[in-house]
C-alpha cells in the first residue's frame, strides 16, 4: 500500500495554519530517541546516525585546522618571522592544509549532509551498504588519529602537497605517518562514493526517474564518480612516497634518474578533481536552497544537472594547470590550459541558472538563503580568478603566490564552507527536529561574509605584488595588506564560532520543528522531523518533477 505523493496532495491535507513553529505532537519514536547509549551510536548502521558521527568528527577537525589558520595569520602580522620558528611555521601551514583539505572539505558535505539526506531524498530506507558506511566512518577516524599522532609527536613540514624530493629525501619530519593518515582516510572517501553510486542507481523510489532527482543528489552522484575514480590515485602516490622513505624504492629520486615532475602528475591527477569533490556538493546544497527560498523550480534543471557531470568528467583532464612552470613541456601546458578554460564553462552556467531562478520567484531571506547568495557571489569571484590562473602567460607570474592562495580560499571557504553552513542550517530542523534562532544565524552569516572578504581579498593584491606562498617572513612592503588579512581572519573566526554556539543551544532549547518548516518540496520533507529509523512510514511513490512548486490556481486540491 503506497500513498500517492501527487501535486497539491501530500498525505493528510495540510491545515492552512501559517507555518509558525506550532508545538509538534509529543515526541514519537525517531532515529534519535529509538536507542540510547554508546553502543547504539558506535555500532549503528543507520545512515542518519552515521551522518551525525561524521558531523562530530568533521567539526572537530575543522576547528583543529582553523586553529592552525589563526596561528598562521598571527605570524604574518609582522614581516619578520618572530612568533614561531620557521620549522614550526612550515608545520603550521602543512597541518592546516592536510586537515582542512583531507579531513574537512572533502568529507564535510558528502559524509554529513549526503549520508543523512540521499536515502531520504530518493525514498530509500538506507544506503545500499550500511555496514560499509559505518566502516567508512571508522576508517576516517583512524586516519584522523594518525594525523593527530603526527601533530602531537612533532608535525610534518612538507606542505599538504608532499612534493618530492623534499618529502622523500630531505624532510626529517613525520612524513610517513602523515602520508599513511591521508592514505587511510582516502578509503573512507572511496567507500562513501561507492555507497552513493550504488544507492542512487539501485534504490530510487518507484517513479523517481533520473530527471526527477533533486539536484543535491545529482551533485553527489557526480562527486561520487570523482571520489571513486580519483582517490585511489593519490592513495598509490602517497604509498610510493612512504615506500621511498622506508624501503628506498627510489621511484622519484632524481639521483637515480627519477623525475619529481612525475610525482606532481600523479598527485594533481587526484588533487584537482578533489577540489571538485569539495565544491560540487556545495553546489548541490545551493541548488536546493535557492529553489526552496525562491519557491520556484531551478531555472534550466536539466542543464544544471548535466553541468555537475560535465565538471566531474572534464575536471579529470585539467590537472596540468598546476604545473605550467614546473618543467612540464610547453605543449602539454597548452593542452591543459585549453581544457581548464572548458571546465570553467559548466560552473558559469550554474551561476547564471541560480541567478535566473530568483527571477519572478518569491524570495525570502532566511539564513540558508543568505549563505546561498553569499556562495553565488564568492564562488563567482573564485571562479573568475581561476581564469587568471588558467591563462598560461599570467600563471607564470601568479602561481605559487598569494594570488593562488586567495583563489582557492574563495572557492573552498567562500564556496564550500558557505554551502556547508547553508546546508546545515537548511536541514537542521530535519536532522534535529529543532529550529535554530533565526536572528543570530543571520548575524553570523553576515559576519562570516564580511570577515571572509576582508581576509582574502587583500591576498589577491599581495599575490600579484609577488608575495610567494608559504613564506614565514616577507618583505616590509607587504605588511599593510597582511595586517588587513589577519584582521579579517579574526572576524571570520568569530563568524564560525557563532553557529557552533547557537546550533548546540538549539538542540536542547530550540522550538520543535514541523515536518516541513520551509514548505519545501522533496521527499525528505514528506517524513517527520527528525525522521524514524526506517525514514518513511510507507514507501513513497513519486509522480511529479523535482521542485514542483505549483502556483495557487493550478493546485488541484483533491
Amino acid at each position: 500500500m503506497t500513498t500517492q505523493i501527487g501535486p497539491g496532495e501530500s498525505g493528510p491535507p495540510r491545515p492552512p495554519v501559517p507555518p509558525a513553529p506550532a508545538e509538534a505532537p509529543p515526541p514519537r519514536v525517531n532515529y534519535l530517541n529509538v536507542a540510547y547509549g554508546v553502543k547504539s551510536w558506535l555500532l549503528t548502521t543507520d545512515h542518519k546516525r552515521i551522518a551525525l558521527l561524521y558531523l562530530a568528527g568533521v567539526t572537530l577537525m575543522f576547528f583543529l585546522g582553523g586553529a592552525f589558520a589563526v596561528l598562521i595569520r598571527l605570524e604574518l602580522v609582522t614581516p619578520a618571522g618572530d612568533l614561531v620558528q620557521s620549522e614550526t611555521y612550515n608545520k603550521l601551514f602543512t597541518m592546516h592544509g592536510i586537515i582542512m583539505v583531507f579531513f574537512f572539505l572533502i568529507p564535510s558535505i558528502p559524509a554529513v549532509l549526503g549520508n543523512f539526506l540521499i536515502p531520504l531524498m530518493i525514498g530509500a530506507r538506507d544506503l545500499a551498504f550500511p555496514r560499509l558506511n559505518l566502516a567508512s566512518w571508522y576508517i576516517y577516524m583512524i586516519g584522523a588519529a594518525f594525523t593527530i599522532f603526527v601533530l602531537v609527536s612533532g608535525g610534518v613540514d612538507t606542505g599538504w602537497t608532499f612534493y618530492t624530493p623534499y618529502s622523500t629525501t630531505y624532510s626529517n619530519t613525520h612524513v610517513v605517518a602523515a602520508g599513511l593518515g591521508v592514505f587511510i582516510t582516502g578509503f573512507s572517501s572511496i567507500l562513501t562514493g561507492l555507497n552513493f553510486i550504488v544507492t542512487i542507481h539501485r534504490m530510487r523510489a518507484p517513479g523517481l526517474t533520473w530527471f526527477r532527482l533533486p539536484l543535491f543528489v545529482w551533485a553527489h552522484y557526480a562527486t561520487s564518480l570523482i571520489m571513486v575514480l580519483g582517490t585511489p590515485v593519490i592513495a598509490i602516490t602517497l604509498l610510493t612516497v612512504v615506500l621511498e622513505r622506508t624501503l628506498h624504492l627510489g621511484i622519484y629520486d632524481p639521483r637515480l634518474g627519477g623525475d619529481p615532475v612525475l610525482f606532481q602528475h600523479l598527485f594533481w591527477f587526484y588533487s584537482h578533481p578533489a577540489v571538485y569533490i569539495m565544491i560540487l556538493p556545495a553546489m548541490g546544497v545551493v541548488s536546493e536552497v535557492v529553489a526552496c527560498f525562491s519557491r520556484k523550480r531551478i531555472f534550466g534543471y536539466e542543464v544544471v544537472a548535466m553541468s555537475s557531470l560535465a565538471i566531474a568528467v572534464i575536471g579529470f583532464l585539467v590537472w596540468g594547470h598546476h604545473m605550467f612552470i614546473s618543467g612540464q613541456s610547453t605543449y602539454a601546458g597548452l593542452v591543459f590550459s585549453f581544457l581548464s578554460f572548458l571546465v570553467a564553462i559548466p560552473s558559469a552556467i550554474k551561476v547564471f541558472n541560480w541567478t535566473s531562478t530568483l527571477y519572478k520567484g518569491s524570495v525570502s531571506y532566511d539564513t540558508p538563503m543568505l549563505y546561498a547568495i553569499g556562495f553565488v557571489g564568492l564562488f563567482t569571484i573564485g571562479g573568475l580568478t581561476g581564469l587568471f590562473l588558467a591563462a598560461l602567460g599570467l600563471d607564470v607570474h601568479v602561481t605559487d603566490t598569494y594570488f593562488v592562495v586567495a583563489h582557492f580560499h574563495y572557492i573552498m571557504v567562500g564556496g564550500a564552507i558557505m554551502g556547508y553552513l547553508g546546508g546545515i542550517h537548511f536541514w537542521w530542523p530535519k536532522i534535529t527536529g529543532r529550529l535554530y534562532p533565526e536572528m543570530w544565524a543571520r548575524v553570523a552569516a553576515v559576519i562570516v561574509f564580511a570577515g571572509f572578504n576582508l581576509t582574502f581579498f587583500p591576498q589577491f593584491i599581495l599575490g600579484y605584488l609577488g608575495m610567494p606562498r608559504r613564506y614565514h617572513a616577507y618583505p616590509e612592503e607587504f605588511q599593510v595588506l597582511n595586517v588587513m588579512s589577519s584582521a579579517g581572519a579574526s572576524i571570520l573566526g568569530l563568524g564560525y564560532l557563532l553557529p557552533m554556539i547557537y546550533l548546540v543551544w538549539s538542540m536542547r532549547y530550540g522550538p520543535r520543528a514541523s515536518a516541513n518548516p520551509w514548505q519545501a518540496k522533496g521527499l525528505e520533507w514528506q517524513t517527520a522531523s527528525p525522521p524514524i529509523t526506517e525514514n518513511f512510514e510507507r514507501q513513497p511513490v513519486v509522480s511529479e518533477e523535482a521542485y514542483a512548486y505549483a502556483p495557487e490556481e493550478e493546485a488541484r486540491v483533491v
Binding site: P130, I236, H248, L249, I251, L266
Partner: protein
C-alpha cells in the same frame, strides 16, 4: 549478511533470512552488491594504474636499463606463476559455479584448491624475492648492478626498475595475502551450509576479487618479465 528481524509486516517473499531490511528483494540486493563490488574493482584499477603509469614512463625514458634489468628476472618462474594463477582462476570460477548449484562440498573443495594454488604462487614469489636479495638487486644503498652488466651510470635507472618491480609485485602479492584468508573464511561459511542457490553473493564477490588479482598479474608478467627476451 545476517538477516534483520523484520519489524514491519512485509509479505511472504520478503521473509528470506538473508534479505536485509532496506532492499526490496534478493535479486535487487545481489545486483546492488555486485555493482558495488565492480565499483570497488574500478578503484583497484586506478590504484594499480598509478604504478603502471610510472612503469610506462620510466620504461620509455630508460629502455636499455630496463631491458638489462628485466633479463635478470627468472622467466620460467614467472611463466609457471602465471599458469598457477590462471589455474586458480579456473578453480575459483568452478567454486562459484558449484555454490550457485548448491553443491556444498564441491564448493568447499574448489575454494580450498584455489587457496592452495594461491599459496603456491606466493611460494614461488618468495623464491624470486630471495634470489633478488641474494644478488643485491634490492633498491637501497647495497644495490649492485654488476650482474646486469650495466656500466656505471645506467645502474641507477636499473634501481628504478627494481623499485617498480618490488612495488608492483609486492602490491599484487599483498592483495593475494588479503584474498587467501577471505577465501578460507568463505569456504568455512560454505562448509557450514551458509549459502544456497538463492543466496551465495559472498562467494561470487570473492570470485570477482580473485579474478581481478589474476588480471593484474596477466599484465604484470609480460611488462616486467618479457621485455628484452629477444636478442
Amino acid at each position: 549478511m545476517s538477516s534483520v528481524a523484520d519489524a514491519h509486516g512485509r509479505d511472504a517473499d520478503r521473509h528470506h533470512p538473508d534479505l536485509v531490511h532496506h532492499f526490496e528483494s534478493l535479486p535487487a540486493q545481489k545486483e546492488a552488491a555486485t555493482f558495488g563490488m565492480w565499483v570497488f574493482l574500478v578503484t583497484e584499477v586506478m590504484f594499480f594504474g598509478g604504478l603502471f603509469l610510472a612503469y610506462t614512463i620510466y620504461r620509455n625514458l630508460y629502455f636499455h636499463a630496463f631491458v638489462q634489468s628485466s633479463r635478470h628476472l627468472n622467466l620460467t618462474l614467472g611463466a609457471v606463476n602465471t599458469a598457477v594463477l590462471i589455474c586458480s582462476s579456473l578453480t575459483m570460477a568452478m567454486g562459484v559455479h558449484s555454490s550457485a548449484l548448491g553443491r556444498r562440498r564441491a564448493t568447499v573443495a574448489w575454494l580450498l584448491l584455489t587457496v592452495a594454488l594461491g599459496s603456491v604462487f606466493l611460494g614461488i614469489k618468495a623464491v624470486e624475492y630471495k634470489d633478488k636479495f641474494d644478488h643485491h638487486l634490492v633498491p637501497g644503498e647495497r644495490f649492485q648492478a654488476e650482474e646486469l652488466h650495466l656500466e656505471g651510470e645506467e645502474s641507477r635507472p636499473a634501481q628504478i626498475f627494481y623499485a617498480l618491480y618490488f612495488a608492483m609485485t609486492g602490491l599484487h602479492a599483498t592483495h593475494m595475502v588479503i584474498g587467501i584468508p577471505i577465501i578460507l573464511f568463505i569456504a568455512w561459511m560454505a562448509h557450514r551450509g551458509r549459502f544456497s542457490p538463492e543466496y551465495h553473493t559472498p562467494v561470487e564477490l570473492t570470485g570477482l576479487y580473485w579474478h581481478f588479482v589474476d588480471i593484474i598479474w596477466i599484465f604484470l608478467f609480460p611488462l616486467l618479465y618479457l621485455i628484452g627476451r629477444h636478442h
